[in-house]
Assembly symmetry: C3
Homo-oligomer: 116 residues x 3
Amino acid sequence: MKEYIRITTFSKDKKTVARISTEVIKEKYAASTHIDKVLSSYWWDGKVEDTQEYRLEIITRKDKEDIIVQTIKLIHDYDVPEIQLDIHETQNEDIKKWIDDIVNESNDITDKNNEL
Amino acid sequence: MKEYIRITTFSKDKKTVARISTEVIKEKYAASTHIDKVLSSYWWDGKVEDTQEYRLEIITRKDKEDIIVQTIKLIHDYDVPEIQLDIHETQNEDIKKWIDDIVNESNDITDKNNEL
Amino acid sequence: MKEYIRITTFSKDKKTVARISTEVIKEKYAASTHIDKVLSSYWWDGKVEDTQEYRLEIITRKDKEDIIVQTIKLIHDYDVPEIQLDIHETQNEDIKKWIDDIVNESNDITDKNNEL
């Protein structure tokens, strides 16, 4: 059974989340992304940071997890970006087909390995 | 064990998400809903759409999933609406009781079948 | 295997969610928190309430669940606050280490019991 996932990351820099979003969509690693703003607090370097961040949610299929995590790490401006993965379900078969149609066209290393 | 879920959908049209929210609350299919705004990117019809959408989260019990998915499909203005389902847990017994009290009063087809 | 979680609560009162956020971060029960605004509808006291709320997401490790639920109940201005728990995964080992480094320094009752 195919699993569908949501991958979430955060950055203070709007351009960073926009670049990650554009890349995963352009390469068809994901069918859709959603960005909004949050007020974040977190420990970093022994101090509490209170700052506005942009939250990016990436909706895709489980087999695209690795390439998306790699893409986030490559583009992200943080040394240690938060990357959360939630497995979700859907009863909407049309949406599964829509996600499949898109990500099946992507051309990542995982796909290439599967073809061997 | 009863399961508690979050169902999420998105639309460009604020009235659409408001109508779905009003319907699932009015009919007591759900105990609460939350709406916010996101910037979305997605593939549709061979092109990337970048657009503002409204995100609707519906908090309810697993046995209301079918009636809520039906309600979303009926009211939604998209041909293929994104419908995500997350199962969540809670340690707050009072909230489970609150959700149960509300959705037990709803009168959907699933309930009617269960009564037979 | 350690599990990593997201705990979500809502309040109309910005100060309430800020106080909960400050407390769980200060005490190192959590590594990070995120706050945003939503438009909520819910049944309360036999009526539907439509109101703006602040949503607080707390990112932490599963063993901090109890102390965080206690902290929310203690500080929250609602009699029955919504408290949702989602278990999420991460492929980012650095983030697990970051969360572990922070919450391992916290000093809650659960930790004290574990030391006995």
